[in-house]
Amino acid sequence: MEDFRDAHERHWEDAEYLYQDKRLGNADHLYGLSAECALKAILARTKFSGAQAPREYRIHIDKLWDRFRSLAGDRDLSRYASMLPENNAFSDWQVAQRYCNRTSFTRQAVENHRWGAERVRNVLRVAEVDGLFQ
C-alpha cells in the first residue's frame, strides 16, 4: 500500500541524517526520492483514482518535476505548480546513480538536490494546510 506522505517524510529524515554525517551518496539518493514522494502525495490526492500510482506517474523526480509544472492547469494543481521553481533542481539526478561509486557525488550537487527537496517539501506543507490530506 502506497503512503507517499510518510515515504516523503522518512526519506527526507534519513537524507538529512546522512547529509549531516557527510554520507553524501545515499543522502543524494534519498533527497531525490523524498521530493518524488512529496509530489506524488499531492498527485495521489488529486489525480489517482486507484490505490496505486497509474503508469503515467511511475517516473522519478528528474522527469516528474517538469511534468508537474508543465501539465498543471485549471485550479487544482496550478496553486502547487506555481510554488515549484522553474529550473528542475533534479535535472542531473538519476535513480540509477545508486549504483555509482561514492566519490562521484559532489557536495555542490547534493546541496542543490537538498535545496530542491526542501522546495518540494514546502509545497507539500502548503497542501497539508489547505486540507488536501484528510
Partner: protein
C-alpha cells in the same frame, strides 16, 4: 536588445519551426508533435516516454531552434523536451488545436488556470434547461429571466430558477420578496457537498415566492445564498470554495471537477422538484461560472446583447475562440441571441443594425461557409428562424423601478417583454 517575442507569436513560430524541421523528424519516424504552452506561457514539446533513439538528434535540433525563435517563451534546449506516457498524450489532445505542417501533425496544448471549459464542446442538451448569458453586464439579463419565470408560472409551468451569478447575485432578490429566501443557497450546497453532506441542504435551498401562490404554475427559486440571519453571513468564505474539484477516492470515484459537481446539483434539484423548465441565470463575461452555464449544463443559451461596438467586439473574442477550437458545429444550435434594452426611439434602425452585427458574428465564425441551402447551417440576414435573429426586449422606464418582479405592472411587462415572452413560448413548445 534581443527580439521581443510575445505570447501571440508563439504558436505560429512553433509551426514554422516544425515546417523547417519536418524532413529530419519524418525520416526518424516522428509524425506528430505535441506542444505544451504551460501556465507561464513557456513551451515544451512532449514526446512518448519510450521514444525511438533515432528521434533524439532531430528533437535536439528542434529544441535548439525553438530556443532561438521563442525568446522568453522558450525553455533551454536541454529542458524543452518532456517525456510523457501515451495516456498523458491522449488526454492532452482533448481540447487542443491540431494542424498538419509539412507531414507532421502539430498539436498545440494550452494549460490555463481558468477558462478551459470555453475550449471544449458543450455538454449534450437537456431539453428543459435554459441559460441566460451576457458578455457584458448591465443589459437587463436577470430582470428578463425573472419576468420570464413569472410568465411561465402564470401559464401553468413548474419552473426552477437558479441564480448562478454567484459573484453578483441578483435573480433571487428579483423573485423573492424580503424575508422569503430559503435557509440555504447554491454556495451552501457546494461547501456542504465538499464534506459529503450536500443532501442535508438540498431540500432547504429553494423557496416558492408568496406572490406566486394564486398562479396556475409553480416557481421554485434556488438563490446564490440563503436568508441573511444571525450566524449566517460567511458568503465570501463559501464562494471561494465553489471551484473546488473533489479529490478522487481510491477504487471508488475519480476526481470530480466542480463543473461536474454543478451538474450533479442541477440533476439533484430536478429529481427532487420535477420542474418543467429550468432557468439558469449566468454570471456575465468570460468567467468560469459563465463557461459553466454556457458550456457545461446542457442548456439552450440565450446570449444577451446591446447594439454597440464593445458588445460585438467581446462576442467576437468568444465566437472566434469557438471556431478556432473546432466547436462551432457543436455549439451553434444551442444559441439564441437576445436584443435587450432596445431604445424607445429609432427602434427599427437600431434593430436593423443589431441584426447586421449579429449576422456578421454568426456568419464569420459559426455558420457553414457554403451558402444557405438544404443541410447547410447557414442563414440569410433576414431569416427569422436563424440563431442570429434576435428575441426582442424593449427598454421601458417602468422596469428599473420594480424591486421584485411581482411589483412590475402588467402593462409595463407587456410593453417591454411581450415579443421575448412569445418567442420563448415557441421555443419551449419546440423543446417539448
Amino acid at each position: 536588445m534581443t527580439e521581443f517575442v510575445h505570447f501571440d507569436n508563439v504558436w505560429q513560430r512553433c509551426r514554422e519551426v516544425v515546417r523547417e524541421s519536418a524532413e529530419s523528424l519524418i525520416n526518424a519516424g516522428c509524425t506528430e508533435l505535441v506542444f505544451i504552452r504551460d501556465l507561464w506561457g513557456r513551451v515544451r514539446v512532449a514526446v512518448p516516454l519510450d521514444f525511438r533513439d533515432d528521434w533524439r538528434e532531430p528533437l535536439r535540433a528542434l529544441a535548439t531552434r525553438l530556443n532561438e525563435r521563442l525568446g522568453a517563451h522558450a525553455y533551454p534546449p536541454d529542458a524543452a523536451v518532456l517525456e510523457l506516457t501515451g495516456h498523458d498524450l491522449r488526454q492532452l489532445r482533448e481540447g487542443a488545436v491540431s494542424s498538419p505542417e509539412n507531414g507532421i501533425t502539430v498539436v498545440l496544448v494550452d494549460r490555463v488556470i481558468t477558462g478551459s471549459r470555453w475550449s471544449l464542446p458543450p455538454e449534450g442538451r437537456a431539453p428543459n434547461r435554459f441559460s441566460f448569458f451576457a458578455i457584458k453586464g448591465g443589459v437587463g439579463r436577470s430582470t428578463a429571466v425573472a419576468v420570464l419565470a413569472s410568465h411561465l408560472v402564470r401559464k401553468g409551468q413548474r419552473v426552477l430558477a437558479m441564480d448562478l451569478d454567484l459573484e453578483s447575485p441578483g435573480l433571487s432578490s428579483l423573485l423573492l420578496p424580503p424575508g422569503e429566501h430559503p435557509d440555504f443557497g447554491i454556495v451552501d450546497w457546494f461547501v456542504e457537498d465538499a464534506v459529503d453532506q450536500g443532501d442535508r441542504v438540498i431540500s432547504e435551498m429553494t423557496a416558492a415566492p408568496s406572490w406566486c401562490g394564486s398562479l396556475k404554475g409553480d416557481l421554485l427559486v434556488a438563490p446564490a445564498r440563503g436568508r441573511l440571519r444571525e450566524g449566517y453571513e460567511e458568503y465570501l468564505e463559501k464562494l471561494g470554495r465553489v471551484y473546488l474539484d473533489l479529490p478522487p477516492v481510491p477504487n471508488k470515484r475519480a476526481q470530480e471537477p466542480w463543473l461536474i459537481r454543478l451538474r450533479r446539483l442541477i440533476e439533484a434539484l430536478e429529481r427532487q422538484l420535477r420542474p418543467d423548465v429550468v432557468l439558469i441565470d449566468s454570471r456575465n463575461g468570460l468567467h468560469d461560472l459563465a463557461a459553466a452555464a454556457v458550456m457545461a449544463v446542457g442548456a439552450r443559451v440565450c446570449l444577451f446583447a446591446l447594439e454597440n461596438a464593445p458588445t460585438w467586439e467581446a462576442y467576437t473574442i468568444l465566437f472566434r475562440h469557438w471556431a478556432r477550437y473546432g466547436i462551432a458545429e457543436k455549439i451553434r444550435e444551442n444559441l439564441t441571441i437576445v436584443a435587450s434594452m432596445i431604445p424607445e426611439v429609432g427602434r427599427d434602425r437600431y434593430l436593423a443594425s443589431f441584426r447586421e452585427h449579429a449576422w456578421d458574428l454568426f456568419r464569420d465564425f459559426l455558420y457553414d461557409e457554403e451558402p444557405p441551402g438544404e443541410d447547410r447551417f447557414n442563414f440569410d440576414l433576414n431569416d427569422e428562424d436563424a440563431p442570429h435573429w434576435p428575441l426582442e426586449i424593449y427598454w421601458h422606464r417602468g422596469v428599473p423601478d420594480a424591486q421584485t418582479v411581482a411589483e412590475l405592472p402588467g402593462q409595463t411587462e407587456q410593453e417591454a417583454f411581450r415579443p421575448f415572452l412569445e418567442a420563448f413560448d415557441e421555443l419551449i413548445s419546440e423543446q417539448s
